[in-house]
Subunit: 335 residues, 2 copies
Amino acid sequence: VAQSKTRVTITAVAAHAGVSPATVSRVLNGNATVAADIAERVRASARELRYTASPVARSLVLGRTQSVACLVPDLGNPTFQGVLRGLSRAASGDRYRVLIADSAEAAEDEADLARELRRRCDALVLVSPRMPAEEIAALVRELEPVVLINRDVDGEAPVIMADYEAGIQPLAEHLYAQGHRRLAYVQGNPDSAANADRERGLATFLSRHPDVEMAVVPAGVTFEAGHDAAAAARVTGATGALAFNDLVAMGLLSGLAAAGVDVPREFSVTGFDDIAFARFITPPLTTASVPVQELGEQAWQRVHALIEGKPPAHNVYLRPRPIFRDSTAAPLVAV
Amino acid sequence: VAQSKTRVTITAVAAHAGVSPATVSRVLNGNATVAADIAERVRASARELRYTASPVARSLVLGRTQSVACLVPDLGNPTFQGVLRGLSRAASGDRYRVLIADSAEAAEDEADLARELRRRCDALVLVSPRMPAEEIAALVRELEPVVLINRDVDGEAPVIMADYEAGIQPLAEHLYAQGHRRLAYVQGNPDSAANADRERGLATFLSRHPDVEMAVVPAGVTFEAGHDAAAAARVTGATGALAFNDLVAMGLLSGLAAAGVDVPREFSVTGFDDIAFARFITPPLTTASVPVQELGEQAWQRVHALIEGKPPAHNVYLRPRPIFRDSTAAPLVAV
DNA sequence: CTGTTAGCGCCTTCAT
DNA sequence: ATGAAGGCGCTAACAG
């Protein structure tokens, strides 16, 4: 039962079956017709010797590795985790593996990392790359096939995006429909694309409703940032706030609770992302669900197509789905 | 500026520098002494042609790929995400990459997946494998070097464990010190190793304190399971409950709140894991923090050592750290 | 110190 | 339908 330490090679199988290595290759890959009896003999030998072709050797000769690389800014970020899960499972279905790397949010290292990864793989998936748009465009040309997730750079690379801009609007409309006319946007990182997207969405909303006033409250992307912004959000005179994401919204809720503000009776709050806990907190959070796993799956479809030499298809914008729960309600004094 | 589509090979660099490919290899790998002027010429050529050696070709000839594989049951599980992050960052420090795969909790697929991954990499990290212990032992022998995380199988593979058994005891002792004498353990999956570990820890605790009665309340591993177990936990007559993990504890909290039970005045609750939200809920959760990222880092140390041919070192048991917050207090009626 | 040769393990013409 | 030979891109052993 114990297998010898030396790797069993295609030559060994050939010898065992009394044929040439070429024939073994043909049988195992089904690339050419081989006499039925010989084919069976070869398969039997392969089985007996527990032979599997070396992926490395095949990679070298075929010029493809059956693997794709995925570069994320931080493996600790739940969004990227979801993407990775979707990507990995989808790729797995087509017998591809994924190589991961985490740039630790260092924008300046991304390009080199990407180059290195690309050389080991057949394609590259860049998730929310932090580097400047022009650099991305250049990198994409250099390293194609490349697929971009959550970073909208026009160029040759397919883009898979959660449409934050469109996604935040139903949340604002919901508050409007409930009677809110003074609102606050509790801002994420003002330099980030993710924040800009939401602000664009809100601008559209505002243009549709000239009777709404919206204050921008600087905060950040964390629970603490939301907590600390609670007072500022109240001071604006708003009757409700749209938070950058769920974490910030939850912080806001906590800060509001500490100040004795009753949500949603006295103040409404919306989040963004629909993280796992959004439904479990009190009050359950009105938010927009972002299909992170689908982002990964769609990215795989695109990558796979590119690897097979198909032309790039249309970009994909996945629209977040608003989820109305109990953190939003009509303001006390309807305007 | 535009680079031609054909890959630039070591032969091209050699030609450009007017030397043999072997010399280029020597210069770039620093494996032998080369005349300073020639070396410089080679480096200049390499730079000019933007040459980097093909990792695939090197892998074939060197017999190592500079990559390790990591197999997890579910990339969506926060514990595994933390492990992966630690592993990936540590490996990155030694210029190794990690290939991931997600068995989607299918225990029966793990062995084949592991075999396939191992052939593409220099070593294998198995995180919480679900398959039977004997199979793991056999697989480890077949595929070494292998490192196990959170699955204690004795054999040739180094094991990196979060010590759940030891970790739950300070939580129980804490409740005891506060005066609790009737407790409930809100159980996870009774067939899992993770649950058995905690029960063993509790048994030790009980053997130290014969005056404590502990009921076991079946639940599960999710928020919902905890929520639904709230009534059952109360009915036992316990004044406090140790939950399998934070999710269950939070569900418990929610179920208790719905039933009008004041935590911690009327009932104490502890969790396990110290997930991100444990500190943010009301009341903030007493729990034990599991250093998931360190698990990954330690695993890398072990894997790396094995790859370098060093003998397996001692197993590592990382002790969770108890974190006392406000979900636990003295029972209303001290015994 | 440098070039030549051989080979890592496999697949794919090209003959037969 | 099968085998022989060459080569994917690189490194290592052997000469010189």
